[in-house]
Symmetry: D2
């Protein structure tokens, strides 16, 4: 699939993104995914759900609004490599895309390139992580579909990126390739942050440990997706005014 075709299958901004890392497993992941799907439908916004390999199929088969992504893939072609994650395997399980270069599984530059090439070939959406301004600019050169410029020292904490970092990473990505979607996710713990980051011009915002470590994850999830909708409405209204 070429880049033009992949553009058509991307989630519509502003969208929401979440994952479970390996904090939970099995039915807990599945139930959380169902809740994300329900919230996405309730507020009529798109959402990416990054699922452990073993849950991709079950989630993809039982949801209809969320975009299920794999957290990583290898780049082998069908054949040997028994312990590897085959791109065709995640696609046939129902994944719509793949995350790459998360700071918990950093990639070499040739690996980044090969992963994006293989994903393009199969029509899988690429979601690349970067952990600094320099790394954001570096990874943008390979033209992933979505970039998540998340300072690695904030991941898993309750401290969000400051607005200067957010604005700067957004700007540098769009200067390199305006079509790359930018998502902010570092240390987000409130619906208000989701709202603010989207209003600042980002295409998406998300949270993983911020939700899972909260006292009432399902309530916070709902609040966050609500804020995506709220920001979306205001952005559309303001566009209307401009006309």
């Amino acid at each position: 699939m070429n880049k033009r075709e992949i553009q058509k299958i991307l989630p519509k901004p502003p969208f929401f993104e979440t994952s479970v890392k390996n904090y939970i497993f099995g039915d807990d992941v599945y139930n959380y995914a169902l809740a994300v799907d329900a919230a996405a439908k309730k507020y009529d916004v798109d959402a990416i759900f990054i699922a452990p390999y073993t849950e991709i199929r079950r989630i993809a088969e039982n949801t209809d609004r969320i975009f299920v992504f794999a957290p990583y893939m290898d780049t082998l072609k069908p054949g040997r490599g028994i312990a590897d994650v085959l791109p065709e395997a995640i696609k046939s399980a129902g994944a719509k895309g793949v995350m790459l270069n998360h700071c918990e599984r950093p990639m070499t530059l040739p690996q980044i390139k090969r992963t994006i090439d293989r994903a393009n070939e199969l029509g899988l959406i690429t979601f690349a992580c970067a952990d600094s301004i320099s790394e954001t600019k570096a990874i943008a050169q390979f033209q992933p579909d979505i970039i998540n410029p998340e300072p690695s020292e904030l991941i898993g904490t309750d401290q969000a990126s400051n607005m200067d970092y957010v604005v700067e990473t957004l700007k540098v990505v769009k200067e390199i390739f305006p079509n790359i979607l930018v998502e902010q996710a570092a240390g987000i713990t409130t619906g208000r942050q989701i709202y603010d980051f989207i209003m600042a011009g980002n295409d998406a915002a998300g949270s993983a440990s911020g939700i899972l470590n909260s006292p009432d994850p399902y309530k916070l999830l709902d609040e966050m997706v609500y804020n995506v909708r709220k920001a979306k409405d205001e952005l559309e209204k303001s566009k209307g005014h401009k006309k």
Copy 2:
């Protein structure tokens, strides 16, 4: 789970083992797994099926005789590590065991030890690969439940281990820990080889590429599982005679 408890959940020798590596994916894996399950029931023998991560759950939920194994796992505890294969994740998806140290994903000694420790902790059966006599003896020290001493230069070929190698690896494993089950799988392409290797005293025999690359995989699969049964019957008869 301690070793005594794991002994009780092991497949009953002689048993069959197969996998798909990454030669096929999606429904092809699923359908092949169903056929292995059907053959295991038809001939009333146990069988291990090593499935790609993404297919473990679907296969485990829709079969009842085969033992579904993961091809690898990491050793992290629930938490961060988004691209890792969490032991709890494969177990909750329905895996009964895990393969380790396949020559396509070799492990360091500390990694072998940690993988076996984590598997024991969760009650997952360990299936360790070794690619020479020395490596077989080395890996036996860590007391996995099953060892597959497969000369790596024969994997994926149609050339089986010779009987001297088979007899020798069987002997060295049983000298180290008599409870470790020994399976032979290198380059097996016929039912007759399955029969011969089990009659030579092995606890199991198996084939992956030998079946998948054959002109009629489902027919060859049936023939191989039939030969496990045939060997089993003769071994039991000969035990009877001895009494």
Copy 3:
């Protein structure tokens, strides 16, 4: 050492660069290094010599014109890590710089950043390899002192980068940080290529296997360094004319 200070210790463009990879070892490396040093003095140009770890000290102590570089370093601080290449160790052995991200030892983005940070800290010059236009732009974001944009498929062959690639990589680097020096080295086998690449505006040109695999390496080495000088003279003359 900050970037301004490192600027002062860089080789003066146009300069020459060579290495032996692991094609030769021991005295053969040493004698080749002495020849490079001699040629650098004969033609009064700077030259980088990338030496195996074990030969860095001997070469550094017995030459006076060449800049000895290590082919890689780890980023640990003094302490444990017995098999690692300590930055302080290569510096104290006489290395003036370090190569990083060679396609035979690709690095993750965080590793690239940490290597450049550690090198800057110790006043070691950084020489980064890139194997495509995208990778060249990516690695330039981390501001190494020198970039070698070498298409990996040409390394070790006798086919040079074409002039379009050379001109394009030079341009993209200088647009990102004008102070980064650009060297071309892919598949160079003749003095004429050295001359052409420098005349095209590159700060340096070099060759490793091109020299070592030639029938008369010492003669070809001399010819290449001569061509650096020749290009340098013409560039200076043309600058003079412009005044």
Copy 4:
């Protein structure tokens, strides 16, 4: 070189072993190596000195009693692999042997085998580390020349292996291959421990951080090597008595 020939070039038990890991670098390593060489001559015992790659040659050229070892090597043949440690390179720099599988650079089983094969081919002595009884038995299968069964949790601490562990590891190695020399080094901080471990039947004893972190390293070094001599004399005397 076959195993019989390598037997002839091994250090004579009981011998001493030490290294600097990466705690120190440059001249500090060199001066320490000279002191080890002087102590080995003073007390007329053999000693292994594991040196950083960059110091192997200088130390080997300026000492005459110590056996200089590399802390690791790759297994490539001369050719590409610019950042790798070529076996021929460490040998030509003067190394007499190579350490492998240190817990700070653990190896897969195939890597252990290849490293020992390459070392045998070049006549380099192999010194393998193991960090538990199981790992000691495992690595002994590959028949390295020397095994150092050092519980990894004690490395770099001031706590020595207890005598039960020492006696057990010694026994299991000798049962597998009586010709493998056994050295104890975990957490040794006094000359008395050196003496005790050798008197318990080990072929060697050593210390790295125990010496380097002591208030007077050169004094402690002397005391340790003296204790090797003392143990040697008593063992010889007791052999004499037996005749």
